[in-house]
Structure formats: structure tokens, C-alpha cells
């Protein structure tokens, strides 16, 4: 089977840079969306079990400045290749900067159609956009089924069996490839590649594509008029000296003064 993993290079929300109520997107580093590491891990396990012949990574860059981000992407994607993926495709184009998930799904489906696929694995959602829309959007565009929020995945004799972790229940669902699967953070523990694997990953191919290469033209349907940081200022008073009793007393004293204890 040919297995794809869709990876988002998200804004690292633990390292956001601000200026007043502006988020300095261009200066905030990218980060592999954490749950996409779980997706890569699951794909690599399918390869180790002889089910996947090839594991390919696909990412669509969304953040400026494009030139620097392409370099940054190379370093990040190598980490996933070191985990055991075989190759990667990076779509980078100015027309894709700050576009919405629908645009991601249009671009990704075209790359998938052009290359062929059996199982497409994604994370349940990204740490920055957190919409969880892309997996089902792609499935619809490819005309194949989708199973979301999967915390267990088995492939046996062509039958894909998953356990879905939904709000009020868990479902066990059978399907057949081709299909799209989105996985949760609880599905596995992503491996940390060894030094040798990291060195070997340098030789694995990363193909850079523009919209021209895949014959896609984008009409922006969502117009972003502004992004404003949510800012909350906190006092940051740290109680780190004295006995346990004194610390507890100190805290209660502050909270009493603030009038938050009944």
C-alpha cells in the first residue's frame, strides 16, 4: 500500500512573538504539529508490519516569509524522514500564504491524485488552526471515506479497522482502502530517531512544488481582515521561599486581598 501522512508545519504557539496586540507571524518559529508525529509513527508502523510499501509526507506551507520557511521546513521534515518515512513533498507558493483549510485540502488532493494513494493519515487537528477540517475535506475531494479521531488502527487482509474516540462514545468501524484516517494524540508514542537514522535521512528526497507544478489556481474565498492577539496581563508573583505552611498562608493572604475567596 502507498501510505501518505499529511503534516502541518504550524506556528509554534509556545514561542509566539508579539508586538503590542500584533502577533509577529514572520518571526515566530514553525513547529511540526505535534499530533502529526503520531500520524507519522502510525504510518511507519504500517511499513514495519509490511502493510505499507512506501510512506510519503505531504506538507503545504502557510506562513511567510516563504523563502525562509522553505529552509525551515527542510530541517523539520528531515526529522520525520528520520522516523522512517521515505520521501516528502513540500508545496510552497506565495498564493498559499495564510489561506484557510479548504485551500490546503484543494492543494493536497491534487498532489495525492497525481501520485496515487491507499491510506492517508493526518493528525486530528493542528495546534494553531485547530479546526480538524482538512481530513474530511480531502476525503470528499477524492471521493473516498474518512474516519476521524482514531485511537487504534489495524489493517488486516485489506480491511482497515479503527477505534474512534468521539465525544460521547467510542466506535469500532471497518472500512477498506483507499481512505483518510485522522488520529489522536493517544494512538501511540512517536519514536525519537537515532543518530544513525538522522544521518540517513539526509539522503531521502524532499520535493519542492509550486502551484504551477501541480496545475492548481487558488481563488481566495476567505478574506482575512485582521489578526489580533488575545492579551491578558498577569501579576506573576512567585511564592518560592518559606515553609509549606508559610507558602499556603501567603497565597491565602493574596487571594483574600483580591477578594476571590468566599
Amino acid at each position: 500500500m502507498r501510505v501518505w501522512v499529511l503534516v502541518k508545519l504550524s506556528l509554534d504557539t509556545s514561542q509566539l512573538r508579539f508586538s503590542g496586540d500584533r502577533i509577529l507571524i514572520e518571526e515566530t518559529p514553525l513547529r511540526i504539529n505535534d499530533i502529526d508525529r503520531n500520524a507519522v509513527e502510525e504510518a511507519v508502523r504500517l511499513k514495519e508490519r509490511g502493510i505499507a510499501k512506501q510512506v510519503s509526507i505531504l506538507t503545504v506551507l502557510k506562513y511567510p516569509p516563504l523563502k525562509d520557511r522553505v529552509k525551515e521546513a527542510d530541517g523539520l521534515i528531515r526529522q520525520l524522514l528520520a522516523m522512517g518515512a521515505d520521501e516528502a513533498y513540500v508545496v510552497a507558493d506565495d498564493a498559499l500564504i495564510l489561506t484557510d483549510p479548504m485551500v490546503t485540502s484543494i492543494v493536497a488532493s491534487e498532489v495525492l491524485k497525481a501520485n496515487g494513494y491507499d491510506i492517508i493519515i493526518t493528525g486530528e487537528a493542528s495546534i494553531d488552526g485547530y479546526s480538524g477540517q482538512v481530513p474530511a475535506m480531502i476525503a470528499a475531494r477524492l471521493g473516498i471515506p474518512v474516519v476521524t479521531y482514531v485511537k487504534e488502527l489495524k489493517v488486516d487482509n485489506g480491511i482497515v479497522t479503527v477505534r474512534r474516540d468521539l465525544d460521547n462514545e467510542t466506535q469500532v468501524v471497518d472500512s477498506r482502502a483507499p481512505l483518510v484516517v485522522s488520529v489522536t494524540r493517544e494512538i501511540n508514542m512517536p519514536r525519537i530517531p537515532t543518530v544513525i537514522q538522522i544521518r540517513l535521512a539526509i539522503k531521502k528526497p524532499i520535493k519542492l512544488l509550486t502551484l504551477n507544478d501541480i496545475n492548481v489556481r487558488i481563488n481566495k474565498v476567505i478574506n482575512v481582515k485582521g489578526i489580533k492577539a488575545i492579551q491578558v496581563s498577569r501579576r506573576g508573583i512567585i511564592i518560592d521561599s518559606g515553609s509549606v505552611e508559610e507558602k499556603a498562608e501567603k497565597l491565602i493572604e493574596y487571594l483574600t486581598k483580591d477578594n476571590v475567596l468566599r
Binding site: 502577533i23 475535506m137 471515506p145 476521524t148 467510542t170 506573576g236 518560592d240 475567596l261
Partner: protein, 305 residues
């Protein structure tokens, strides 16, 4: 082409009609509803819905057939509105792919065609404008639909949808409590700093002394299952804004912060003085929770006597 609002819902999510009503009032479009599952005793006519299409039968295991049905029959919908949960969020994506229209998740403010949504991991508000038809996913519980008039009967048509290609093998319910953490006044939130489920007793005692609800980080609900998901705070859990938030043994990863940023006073209790949460607190106590919590609980009880 006649344009309208299509609201998709089931018995457990009637609040979502409140969103459709706001869009109706802003645009003058009429509301049609697609009601999934059992709909006995529900008269949507009272809420200003003109036509109801009722789909009986099993839940939404495979979103594809329903999405195809909507695409084929409601091509004239300008706003497609549905509640926010994992099943509907899958439907919304599939529908977007088939209809080639965008999805807006949990708008905090909407004056069509303008919307405000949370972005960048809930650390920012983004203002958007969408001219095309759009799918809106919103939290039903946040809205209270208005009863416009009594006894206004909506026309109900029963429709059916073909089965999908996914086969449901088994369903297991989850334990659910009726905690509404979003409405809590004070929250004591627990994280992986607790070594066992039994140890949560220390936090439960403190919560009782304070009249607080118990919150938790994702691993405690999703992985360890020490608490039910109603307690889960964060980007993928609940968003809370209590007057007082006390985080105990939680490191303060951005996905946790995303759910509690708007709390009043924030207290952090952590043994590690470098825990990132200390950068986002009003009061931080660097101490072993196993030593601090008993003392804190005792003193709070004494204070109230």
C-alpha cells in the same frame, strides 16, 4: 436562486437554532432544518423554522452519504449551520469538500459576511469576510433559541439517506458526568503532577473547601481516564473563564493555556520553578503539591470557621 439558511441538528443540540435565528435576523433569509435521529415532540416551527426534513435512523458514522444528500438537495443554502462536536466537525469538512465552500469554526462574533474566530491556538482573534456560501460550526450550548410564537407548525418531510461504506462493528458509551465546567466560578485543575488517581483526593478536598469544580489537563482525561472528559480544559477540551483558576501539577503547555487564558485570577502550584505555567499566573507557588495541598485545604477550612 432562492437562498436560505440550513440548520443541521439533532435532539441533543437544539441550541444551535439560536445561531440560525441570528443569521436570519441579520439577513432576512428563511430557515430550513435537517433533523437527524428521533424527533418526537420537537416542533421547530415555534423557533421560526419554515421547513423541517427529518432523517430517521442510525447516527452519523459515515458523513459521506449525508453530505451528498445535502449537496444534491440544498444547493441553494447560503449558510449551513451545525453544532460543534467531533461527528459534526467531520460532516462539515466532508460537506465543504463536496460543495467547495469554506467552514467557519466557532465564530465568537458574526455579522454576516463578517465573522470573528479564534486563531493561532486560541491566542488570537481573527476577523474574516466570506462572500460565498459558508458552513458555520458553533457550540450549541452557548445559544438560547427564541420562541417566536406558539403553535406555528413547520412543514415536516421525512427523507432517507443511503447507508455509507463504513461498517459499524461496535459502540461503547463513555462515562459522562453532568459537570458544566464552562460555568464554574472557581476551578481547581489537576495535571500529571499527580502520581495516581487516588491522589486526586487531595485536589478534590481543596475543591470542596473552595466550592470549586475540578478541571484537568488532556492526559488525565484522554489517556489515563482518571476524570471524565467534561473536566478537560484546553484547546481540544473546554474553554473556561472562572473567577479563580488554580492549576496543580500542570506544566502549562500552550494547548492547556488555550482553554483558560480568560480566567480571572490564576494560581499555579508546581514543584518545578521553571514550569512554563509560571509565566502566565498571578500567583505561583513553587512547592510539592503533596505537601502544599493538605496545608492549603486545612487553612482554607479554618478561615471559614
Amino acid at each position: 436562486m432562492r437562498l436560505m439558511i440550513l440548520v443541521i441538528l439533532d435532539k441533543g443540540n437544539l441550541g444551535i437554532i439560536g445561531v440560525a435565528q441570528e443569521v436570519m435576523e441579520a439577513t432576512g433569509l428563511t430557515i430550513n432544518a435537517l433533523l437527524l435521529g428521533n424527533h418526537e415532540g420537537i416542533n421547530l416551527g415555534d423557533y421560526g423554522v419554515s421547513k423541517v426534513y427529518a432523517i430517521n435512523g442510525s447516527g452519523l458514522i459515515d458523513p459521506a452519504p449525508l453530505a451528498r444528500f445535502i449537496t444534491n438537495n440544498f444547493n441553494d443554502a447560503k449558510y449551513i449551520i451545525m453544532p460543534d462536536n467531533k461527528v459534526y466537525r467531520t460532516l462539515s469538512g466532508y460537506l465543504s469538500g463536496l460543495m467547495n465552500i469554506p467552514v467557519i469554526i466557532n465564530p465568537t462574533d458574526f455579522k454576516p459576511p463578517s465573522f470573528k474566530v479564534n486563531a493561532v491556538g486560541n491566542r488570537a482573534i481573527m476577523e474574516l469576510e466570506v462572500q460565498r456560501p459558508v458552513i458555520i460550526v458553533a457550540q450549541a450550548a452557548r445559544f438560547k433559541p427564541k420562541q417566536y410564537s406558539q403553535g406555528n407548525k413547520a412543514m415536516v418531510t421525512n427523507v432517507s439517506v443511503e447507508p455509507g461504506s463504513l461498517k459499524l462493528i461496535n459502540v461503547e458509551g463513555k462515562s459522562i458526568s453532568n459537570v458544566r465546567i464552562e460555568e464554574a466560578d472557581i476551578i481547581v485543575a489537576v495535571g500529571r503532577g499527580f502520581k495516581s488517581k487516588d491522589d486526586l483526593k487531595l485536589a478534590i478536598d481543596l475543591a470542596e473547601a473552595l466550592g470549586a469544580q475540578l478541571g484537568c489537563s488532556r492526559p488525565l482525561a484522554a489517556d489515563l481516564k482518571w476524570l471524565s472528559e467534561e473536566h478537560w480544559v484546553g484547546l481540544s477540551g473546554h474553554r473556561v473563564k472562572p473567577r479563580l483558576y488554580i492549576a496543580v501539577g500542570i506544566s502549562g503547555q500552550p494547548q492547556h493555556l488555550a482553554g483558560m487564558m480568560e480566567s480571572g485570577v490564576v494560581v499555579v502550584i508546581n514543584i518545578d520553578k521553571n514550569a512554563p505555567f509560571f509565566k502566565y499566573c498571578d500567583y505561583g507557588v513553587v512547592e510539592d503539591l503533596y505537601r502544599l495541598l493538605p496545608a492549603l485545604t486545612r487553612k482554607i477550612k479554618e478561615r471559614r470557621r
